[in-house]
């Protein structure tokens, strides 16, 4: 993290959006995550997407659970209300918030521990209920804040910083989301701004439950045995830096590759991630095709990125429940209270 305060003055030539706002107006507090953390790239992409869409920041509610990912709503859209709830339970809080006011944008930020382990139940059920929101999982396959335990999205066979292999099958949240009824499902990579920003914009405009699984590498908990920048190595080889919580500084990983192409990305832990961008002629309108594509790519050991599934005509929970157009939170006695006369008929019915 940096302790240098951001200057408040804006460069006069920064591009302004329809609301006359610059990108800087969509920023939040300075990130306290490790330098080079993929999550910061996701925050930057959200800032850019909201700026480009001219979303009024105060009409956005940012919600999160607990973990590194869930800290990030502080780092974008400082004019929005935020809610850092409890571990794995952001979906229920977002559901209640959305029921109270259907007119706001909702951005939920979660992590792989938050959504795939402790919160898997809530994740599944918010998908089913089709809450109108953008749900982003910053997916790094690890528990960052508690220092590097496996998460449930980690691939079987990969090793932890202690060299222990992961013995269990991974959970694919995108696949689950497609299966349970999400109307917008995409996967991207935190360092691929060219892909991530348009996906976020599409997700924000989507009038239903939009899910984005963003692979976001953890720079802190690498475990490449030979790496001189590994956690263990630095601890063991530098007396001046022999602090247990010292995290090596890194640059964020960035990628930029063409549709249909594959890109091998070196991860901080020394492993390589092969991302395969969906071809331009891929039609995301079929759940069957999306599942088939995901499973076939998985077999090949590739992570497919792009818009996996889209329902052009989505319904959301308010449609399902047939609620009124105005926010429920805005209704007063006149709309809500049946009054004394009506209560008399209730009394009469119980005599």
């Amino acid at each position: 993290m940096t302790f240098v305060a951001k200057p408040k003055a804006h460069h006069p030539k920064l591009p302004r959006n329809e609301l006359g706002l610059t990108r800087r107006d969509y920023e939040g507090a300075v990130s306290t995550l490790c330098a080079g953390c993929g999550h910061d790239s996701v925050s930057a992409a959200i800032i850019q997407a909201c700026h480009e869409l001219s979303v009024p920041a105060h009409r956005v509610a940012k919600l999160s659970g607990i973990g590194c990912s869930s800290k990030t709503p502080t780092y974008f859209l400082g004019k929005s209300h935020g809610f850092n709830s409890v571990h794995g339970r952001m979906p229920s809080v977002a559901t209640g918030a959305n029921m109270a006011n259907r007119e706001l944008y909702y951005i939920g930020i979660s992590g792989d521990g938050d959504s795939a382990s402790i919160g898997l139940g809530q994740f599944a059920h918010i998908v089913r209920r089709r809450i109108n929101m953008t749900y982003v999982v910053d997916n790094n396959g690890t528990y960052g804040l508690t220092k590097g335990q496996f998460s449930a999205t980690n691939d079987k066979g990969s090793t932890s910083k202690k060299g222990v292999p992961n013995l269990y099958e991974p959970i694919d949240l995108a696949m689950m989301a497609i299966q349970i009824g999400a109307t917008f499902v995409a996967r991207s990579f935190s360092g691929d701004k060219e892909q991530l920003v348009p996906l976020l914009k599409a997700a924000l405009k989507h009038e239903g439950f939009a899910f984005l699984d963003v692979i976001s590498p953890c720079v802190a908990f690498n475990n490449h045995d030979g790496s001189t920048k590994s956690y263990e190595y630095v601890r063991g080889h530098s007396s001046a830096m022999a602090l247990a919580d010292l995290i090596p500084t890194r640059d964020a990983i960035e990628v930029d590759y063409a549709p249909g192409a594959a890109e091998d990305v070196a991860m901080p832990d020394g492993s390589t991630l092969r991302l395969r961008k969906l071809r331009e002629d891929y039609d995301p309108r079929s759940r069957v095709t999306a599942m088939d594509t995901l499973m076939r790519m998985n077999e090949k050991g590739e992570i497919v990125t792009g818009l996996l599934f889209l329902d052009d005509n989505p319904s959301d929970c308010h449609e399902i429940l047939a609620t009124v157009d105005e926010p429920l939170a805005s209704l007063g006695e006149a709309e809500l209270c049946p009054g004394s006369e009506r209560l008399e008929t209730i009394n009469a019915a119980f005599r």
């Binding site: 105060h58 209300h81 409890v86 809080v93 209920r129 049946p338 009054g339 004394s340």
Partner: protein, 613 residues
Amino acid sequence: MTVPIQAVNDFVIKFANVNGSGSASANGMFAKALFRMGIPCAPRNIFPSNIQGLPTWFEVRVSEAGHLGRREGIDLMVAMNAETYADDVAEVRPGGFLLHDSTKPFPKALKRDDITFIGVPIAELILNEFADPKQRQLFKNIVYVGALAELLQIEWDVLTGMLEEQFKGKEKLIGPNVRALEIGRDYARDYLETPLPIRVRRCDGVGDSILIDGNTAAALGFLWGGATVAAWYPITPSTSLAEAFEQHASKLRRDPGSDRHRFAVLQAEDELSAIGMVIGAGWNGARSFTATSGPGLSLMQEFLGLAYFAEIPAVLVDVQRAGPSTGMPTRTQQSDLLLAAYASHGDTKHVLLLPSTPKECFDFAVEALDLAERLQTPIMIMTDLDLGMNDHISPPFQWDDARRYDRGKVLDADGLEQVKDWGRYLDVDGDGIGWRTLPGTHPEKGSFFTRGTSRDEYAKYTERGEIYQRNMERLQKKWATAATLVPKAEIREGAKSKPCGVIFYGTSAPPMPEALAALKQQGIDLDSMRVRGFPSGAEVYEFIERHELVFVVEQNRDGQLRSLLVIEGEIDPARLVPVLHYDGMPLSAQVVERQIAEHFAAMRKPRLSEVTP
């Protein structure tokens, strides 16, 4: 031969049935018929955690004097379940009566000569009249109601009138039901000695009261009180609350133009999610509630701590049942008080409302929505299975159309423009309650981060100990404010205080007038106080202060309200004597009378010098 019990409008009747056989509606009809004859009565369903095939009972206390707590001993048993004959026979008081289906002979071994056995060949009568097996099953229950009408002198028009109401729109069902009633009545008239020495008689004992269960009452309170988001997970005995809310809201809460709903009911995937939804909705400005029971409250602990610490309005009804763990899920208790009062880790305290009647369930539901927004914290209404699921005679609900919802301290856009130095957790009014803002209010001002982590007055994250501590102390100040806002205790004492008093709350209240009257006859005269909320107001501690000794009556093993009084009021535990009942059945006046009388008897034990020669 024991003399048969003679009683008009003062007896206990119990129906022993098999669950899933349709007995509940017939028994309910019986109770409601007495209510419509103006006779005070208290029906209680004693049911198993099962859908079909297990024994189930339905008890009705009939009392023209208005004693509606449970009373021990049965005067008339309607024994319709051969499996429980032995227990059912044993429960009848000497001189009492037992009605049974005499199609098969009653087992000789179980007969008692101090009670009167009344045989009605119900199965046989049904067999001759109805061909459909389902009707044969259902109408058995109606036949015994018909026989009871004759035996006890229930007004015929009242019964048939109820059938007409019940089957409005399905008129062809009225005939066979009335016929079933007639079969029972005619058999009793032709072959039995009627009326029985115990019987009913129209009186003027219920006034304009209504007969309703607490869950429905609370649901209606939430409806009138402006709740728009309800989130819940099915759990006995709270389920019918959320269902009643949805049922009534579907009729009463529609936009007249579009016919769309001005409410949202979400059946959550578990209780964690249910309370999370309530908190999300409350954070975003909607009045919201959940209903649950003990196991659900256990699951909600983490979220309740968040709502306490982040200061978010939320309303929860705990319809308590017998714990711990799954306990006796269909039996009543007041055993979640401590769990609710101090829910969640860390230093937490929660506001509790303790209703005693359906009217109070309605009123406290409205009150809870106001208090939650006023105090920006969870408010828990502690009812129980007895109050929630059984019908009770209650004063009718009232609504003042001039009443406005108290939406608490919320700054709108104009307010934000006017306030120079706004901080979400700044205590500008000195009552420990800050001004909150809702998402989407103002383009530039009023946004903040809600979190369960420590923060300063401006909602900025901090790990500085003194700031954390200052915040915790402000929450204590808010707690003191809460003590002035919860419903006041109901105190009954003369111009001059008696030496001893008794405290009770919730469903421990109905048997108390009867218990106090009986104790008075024994020379034990007590002042009484019904506590209606937590934190306790000053009047509660002053009452205790005025008395040398105070009994605390409650339905749990550990004396949970007593503990709360001792802890929060720093009361000498020796001055608070627990009177406890926790077998899962509603409290009776006899239990209270016995325990208090025994306490005084023990105090009067002769000194050693008095008994040694």
